[in-house]
């Protein structure tokens, strides 16, 4: 039988606050084990949590970025369970009154509803030392502020899910909420998936796959799960509601715990933290600080800058690159040429160096200057590409690079005339051929002149001089 997959996601994103959500320890990734811990985040007796206001602001910004309502009233609850990486044995989260609700995002051509975004604290990490049969706890990550984004089950394929995660990751980056580094765990995805027969509109029993930390594993896990559930259903068996874990090495999912074994989290209100009340003015104030979102930037690039949609999308999909592009065109507004050079030369050189756009070693000013030199006719367009390549290697301004590598175009008429005369004397039949109407010979001669003059010949001037000499 054919089935339609029904997919909803729960996405955890670490927020980019300086300090943790309920204490003043640094929230930055890493650090030597248990050095970023205080009595508060270690849950020592007698300590109390204090809400980091910046975490509230960033969560509200996430709401705006994802088209949600930001609520005037939200409140914290406790989610109770024992685990050695959870010092208080409860996680402070927002269960009943989340800060943001009812969002909507278009991804992969589909409208995907967001049920809620709420604030919560991250747990620590366990390090298992297999041979010695020892587990060690590192509490550095305890209390790092998270938002959890919960979607409605509106996705119908692995590709939908991937596109959705990509879209929200991009928006969260643009909003300055999360750096979305899945490899560092700052964005983690849980997938809820069920199958329903093609002719039905009743959802099947779902399985939840926890903690996917790459786009590849999201796709593979969903595709495997679709296959697994379809085989079960085709074989007349039932899918059981359970939590599953994806094994990257085998590409399969395994049962972690069944519904019966699921934790009863015994949620109840967190009395140590008063409710978060945001006035309409405060919400408006946060909204006014929202940076440009990728879809807004898309409009600017295509409508104001005249970039083609694909180019604009390519640049915007890399926020650091797009920011670099913005700064470059601010200095020299040659929108399309800078986009071309960025997408071809800058990206190519970054790839060769296996570097990220954050690591571009030269300033936007220098890129602007290099492109401008090309457009001013000081260097050829090909030379601009060379200059960009050299700028990845040498910390010099483009003018100096051009001079150093002999890329400044010659505008010296006498010199060029000498070269033209020499080329013509080397090709004695050329003038006659040209006069007999052989159009191809002009291009051949142009090429010979430019080659003899190396790259420094200004093609426009060569064309003029050559025409003049041939005509006379």
């Amino acid at each position: 039988m054919k089935y339609i997959p029904v997919i909803g996601l729960e996405i955890h994103a670490e927020m980019l606050t300086e300090s943790k959500v309920f204490c003043s320890c640094t929230a930055v990734f890493g650090g030597e084990e248990n050095t970023r811990v205080c009595p508060r985040c270690a849950g020592l007796p007698g300590t109390l949590p204090l809400v980091n206001k910046n975490a509230v602001t960033l969560a509200a910004k996430a709401g705006f970025a994802l088209g949600c309502n930001v609520n005037n009233y939200s409140a914290f609850d406790r989610k109770n369970y024992f685990y050695p990486d959870l010092p208080k044995a409860y996680q402070i989260t927002q269960a009943q009154y989340p800060i943001c609700t009812d969002g909507l995002i278009n991804a992969n051509g589909k409208d995907i509803r967001i049920n809620r975004i709420h604030i919560e604290e991250d747990a620590g990490k366990l390090v298992h030392i297999g041979e010695e049969n020892i587990s060690l706890a590192d509490y550095n990550r305890c209390g790092v502020p998270l938002i959890e984004i919960v979607t409605e089950p509106d996705m119908r394929s692995a590709e939908d899910a991937r596109a959705f995660v990509e879209e929200i990751a991009l928006r969260l980056k643009y909003a300055g909420v999360c750096d979305c580094r899945m490899e560092q765990g700052s964005l983690r995805v849980d997938v809820n998936i069920s199958l329903m027969p093609e002719d039905s509109d009743v959802f099947g029993t779902r399985a939840e796959i926890k903690n996917l930390n790459s786009y590849r594993s999201i796709i593979r896990a969903i595709e495997y799960e679709i296959k697994r559930q379809a085989e079960l259903l085709d074989g007349g068996e039932r899918v059981i509601q359970e939590t599953r874990r994806f094994d990257d090495s085998t590409g399969t999912t395994k049962s972690l715990r069944s519904k019966e074994e699921a934790h009863d989290y015994r949620y109840f209100p967190e009395a140590d933290i008063p409710p978060v009340v945001l006035t309409d003015e405060e919400i408006a104030q946060i909204r006014s600080t929202m940076p440009e979102m990728p879809y807004e930037r898309m409009n600017r690039y295509t409508q104001e800058y005249g970039l083609v949609t694909d180019d604009a999308r390519l640049i915007i999909s890399d926020k650091a690159l797009s920011d670099f592009y913005d700064r470059t065109v601010m200095i020299y507004p040659s929108y399309r040429e800078i986009a071309n050079m960025t997408l071809s030369e800058v990206i190519r050189n970054l790839k060769e160096l296996s570097a990220q756009s954050e690591d571009i070693p030269f300033s936007p000013e220098r890129l602007a200057m290099a492109v401008k030199m090309g457009e001013d006719g000081k260097v050829s367009r090909n030379a601009v590409k060379d200059i960009i390549k050299f700028m990845f290697e040498e910390n010099l301004p483009p003018e100096e690079i051009a001079k150093k590598h002999g890329l400044i175009m010659s505008n010296n008429k006498d010199e060029l005339e000498e070269i033209i005369k020499k080329v013509l004397s080397d090709n004695p039949n050329a003038i006659a051929d040209y006069k007999n109407g052989n159009g191809k010979i002009f291009g051949f001669l142009m090429g010979q002149v430019v080659r003899t003059a190396d790259k420094s010949a200004n093609p426009k001037l060569v064309r003029e001089l050559l025409t003049e000499i041939l005509e006379n």
Binding site: P45, G46, T47, L48, F268, A271, D272
Partner: protein, 478 residues
């Protein structure tokens, strides 16, 4: 002696702070082995603090509590001093920080004599659940001190400290104060910082003061009250002069007498003593107003559900991993946690954790925890209605006088029910003060409570003080 008297002696140099502290240490040496008020006595630190206090006195910069020897309940964190919660779980726990109230006491030059005994994790009303043994009543050592701040109340009663810091979740300051014949004040929720108070039930816990008079309770409160950036639930208070209304006339004051507080379970002797106090106020010109709190009959159930639910979560952190007791048995994490908690928590604590987890479990949450919250909001609105008709409410503090040691634990449901007079003010977060209003035929003290409007401690302190001035207090035997 009262704090105001000690203040005067210190300021007139009739006694030095060191001598005063030394005299309390002597008394502790003589009586603590009988009464068991203190778990830890900090002799050296107290004497050292008294020297510092004397320097303040000598430079005429003494504050009301400078040089005054006080005790702190052992669930309130003291930097570098064991803070056990009277539990095997924390028997060796030395906090790396001071509670805000301790910090403020130290800043004002008060001398902390030691840490007082209590029911384990403040769960109990007889002080018999302490891992360190029960506290005896200074009026008769065959009787309990009440609890959970039993060591604090008995300590004040036997003059093993001039005043005490306790904690009150459902009556833990007021009830032992009543049983030990002293005055105990639970302020409005949010008046005193809970930073450093080891949590039992976060929405109910409030630090309180115990002393020999309402005025002394107010003096201590004034020194430590107010907003604390470390506790988001503290209130921004503009006026912390809690003794400012003392001396005011009660003429025309409307005192509410809620009928439900004088019904079943309240002993005749308690009823008589409290009603004679009411009569006293009436004679002084106050107006007695009969009021009603229909939901009182559900208050004890609501209190035990809410406080146990919160306790089940607050006490979940004691897993033997980071601090406190750790079982030597247990190969896996689950086993370690289970054995640690089985070995180090006493029966009462375990009972409350079980009750709390049950009340929060899916399938029972609606029937228990959620219903308890509904009762809570009903009690709050019933208080609001009552306070439209009167200024303060007068009730017994406990249905009876102190229990004989060992007797109360035999019927837990009766013991829990006996909290009926104190839990409603806790549930509503309102201030209440208990003082002695009589003695039973065996000479055991009877307590009455005055409950006030939120953040109006000054009024109940003044009204309480008015009674205390004319009341003939009988000193404890010990």
């Amino acid at each position: 002696m009262k704090i105001s008297q000690l203040r005067s002696m210190l300021d007139k140099r009739e006694i030095s702070a060191w001598e005063l502290t030394q005299s309390y240490i002597e008394k502790i040496r003589n009586k603590n082995h009988i009464l068991n008020c203190y778990i830890t006595v900090c002799e050296e630190k107290a004497l050292e603090d008294s020297r510092k206090a004397q320097m303040l006195i000598d430079s005429n910069s003494a504050l009301p509590l400078t040089g005054i020897p006080l005790s702190v309940k052992d669930n309130i964190c003291t930097l570098g001093i064991k803070t056990t919660c009277a539990s095997k779980m924390l028997a060796d726990f030395v906090p790396p920080y001071n509670a805000t109230v301790v910090e403020r006491l130290e800043n004002t030059g008060a001398v902390i004599l030691g840490k007082t005994n209590m029911d384990e994790f403040a769960m109990g009303s007889t002080n018999e659940t302490s891992y360190f043994g029960s506290v005896k009543n200074p009026y008769n050592t065959d009787y309990t001190s009440g609890g959970s701040s039993g060591g604090a109340a008995a300590g004040v009663s036997a003059d093993l400290c001039a005043g005490a810091i306790g904690s009150d979740t459902g009556g833990s300051v007021r009830q032992p104060s009543a049983f030990c014949g002293v005055t105990g004040l639970k302020p409005t929720y949010g008046t005193l910082s809970r930073w450093g108070l080891i949590a039992f039930a976060s929405s109910l816990d409030q630090i309180g003061t115990i002393a020999k008079s309402a005025e002394d309770c107010g003096l201590i409160l004034s020194a430590i009250a107010g907003y604390d950036e470390n506790d988001a639930t503290t209130a921004q208070l503009t006026d912390t002069a809690y003794t400012s209304k003392i001396g005011m006339s009660v003429k025309g004051l409307k005192i509410g007498i809620p009928t439900e507080f004088f019904k079943t379970g309240i002993s005749d002797e308690v009823c008589t003593a409290v009603m004679s106090a009411a009569k006293y106020y009436e004679d002084m010109g106050a107006e007695l107003v009969t009021v009603s709190m229909p939901s009182l009959e559900f208050a004890v159930s609501a209190y035990y559900l809410i406080s146990s639910a919160e306790a089940s979560s607050n006490l979940a952190r004691y897993d033997g991993i980071r601090f406190g007791y750790r079982s030597e048995k247990g190969g896996t994490y689950d086993e370690l946690v289970k054995n640690t908690r089985s070995e180090a928590f006493g029966d009462e604590v375990k009972r409350r954790i079980l009750l709390g987890n049950y009340a929060l479990s899916s399938g029972y949450y609606e029937d228990y925890y959620k219903k308890a919250l509904k009762i809570r909001s009903r009690i709050k609105s019933e208080y609001s209605a009552i306070f439209e008709k009167c200024d303060v409410i007068l009730t017994p503090t406990a249905p009876t006088v102190a229990y004989r040691l060992g007797e109360a634990q035999s019927s837990l449901s009766e013991l829990y029910s006996a909290d009926i007079c104190t839990v409603s003010a806790s549930i509503a977060g309102l201030p209440a003060i208990s003082t002695t209003c009589g003695y039973d035929k065996n000479g055991l003290p009877v307590g009455m409570s005055l409950t006030g409007k939120a953040f109006d401690e000054a009024t109940i302190i003044a009204v309480c003080d008015a009674f205390e001035r004319d009341f003939k207090r009988q000193e404890a035997v010990l």
